[in-house]
């Protein structure tokens, strides 16, 4: 990775290393949204733990019905997608558009696998009668993973916009790339907590 385009893009948004700036990555308004979303989901997570504490048996019985294999694979899929977003951002920052584009396509491919795997998880569960109305555990399970899936869907659209930005612009807007990347990593962070609460804890 070299600063190939550094000399050739003297316009606005020329590639600058984040460490040299010591600033908030991306748009700071995105960070306020991210912190707000983290706090809202934090409330759901603590609420889940509170209700779980009132009926451990019900929640443990619900957890026993979940597919830990798909949950684990989906966690790795999101982590891998996040890695490619981070690598793509780094490449865009030093002006390596071709490499950045490749990495964002990889991020999109892994990111798109998440909802597909989720369907493979949900459909057999719903057909077995494990619906949101079954009990409090499954209500939490579908509401929290469903809300998260909406974030994933929006994140995939954001990655598409990043790809368009990197592909069509001679000097991609780095702040736009970083802002989108921040959102996608937040989606990853939320899933890591959901995975521990819904699939792993006992």
């Amino acid at each position: 990775m070299t600063d190939v385009a550094r000399g050739s893009t003297p316009q606005v948004d020329k590639p600058v290393r984040a460490e040299a700036r010591g600033q908030v990555p991306g748009d700071s308004s995105m960070w306020f949204f991210v912190i707000g979303d983290l706090l809202i989901f934090g409330g759901y997570f603590v609420g889940y733990m509170y209700y779980r504490g009132r009926n451990h048996e019900l929640f443990l019985a619900g957890q026993a019905q979940l597919n830990l294999d798909i949950g684990t694979v989906n966690t790795i899929v999101l982590l891998t997608s996040s890695l490619f977003v981070a690598l793509g951002t780094a490449a865009a920052r030093v002006g390596n558009r071709a490499e950045s584009l490749r990495r964002f396509w990889m991020a999109l491919a892994f990111g798109a696998a998440f909802p597909i795997l989720k369907l493979f998880e949900w459909i057999p569960e719903i057909s077995r009668g494990l619906t949101p109305g079954k009990d409090l555990f499954f209500m939490y399970y579908y509401v929290m993973t469903g809300l998260h899936l909406c974030h994933v869907a929006l994140g995939l659209v954001v990655i598409c916009f990043i790809i368009r930005n990197v592909k069509e612009s001679v000097a991609p807007k780095i702040s736009f790339v970083e802002t989108g990347a921040t959102y996608w990593h937040m989606v990853d962070v939320l899933w890591l907590v959901l995975f521990a609460l819904l699939y792993l804890m006992r």
Binding site: I35, L60, A61, S82, L83, A86, L192
Partner: protein, 92 residues
């Protein structure tokens, strides 16, 4: 390719993936019977706390961000997992 493998971000990812698999194995090994298990719960929640911190710090590049953002995001991780563990143990 070698540069990609040696990239610090890839190393963070390898660590995240390894501990993800480890936490699933802990849940399978110690919690397959689906009874309350404080050791499994403490282990998987602490691993999740470390994972969320690593993603925020390295992928979201908070390690290069101003102090207020470092404090807010790290504070969220600490407060969330402290509350989760407190609610869990208080309910036993």
């Amino acid at each position: 390719m070698t540069a990609l493998i040696r990239n610090p971000l890839t190393i963070v990812w390898a660590l995240l993936t390894t501990v993800t698999i480890a936490s699933s194995l802990i849940a399978l090994d110690g919690g397959a019977s689906h009874h309350i298990n404080t050791t499994v719960t403490t282990a998987v929640l602490l691993i999740a706390a470390v994972k969320t911190f690593l993603v925020i710090w390295h992928f979201m590049e908070v390690r290069r961000a101003p102090l207020w953002l470092k404090a807010t995001t790290s504070g969220w991780v600490l407060a969330l997992f402290a509350l989760l563990l407190t609610f869990y143990f208080a309910s036993l």
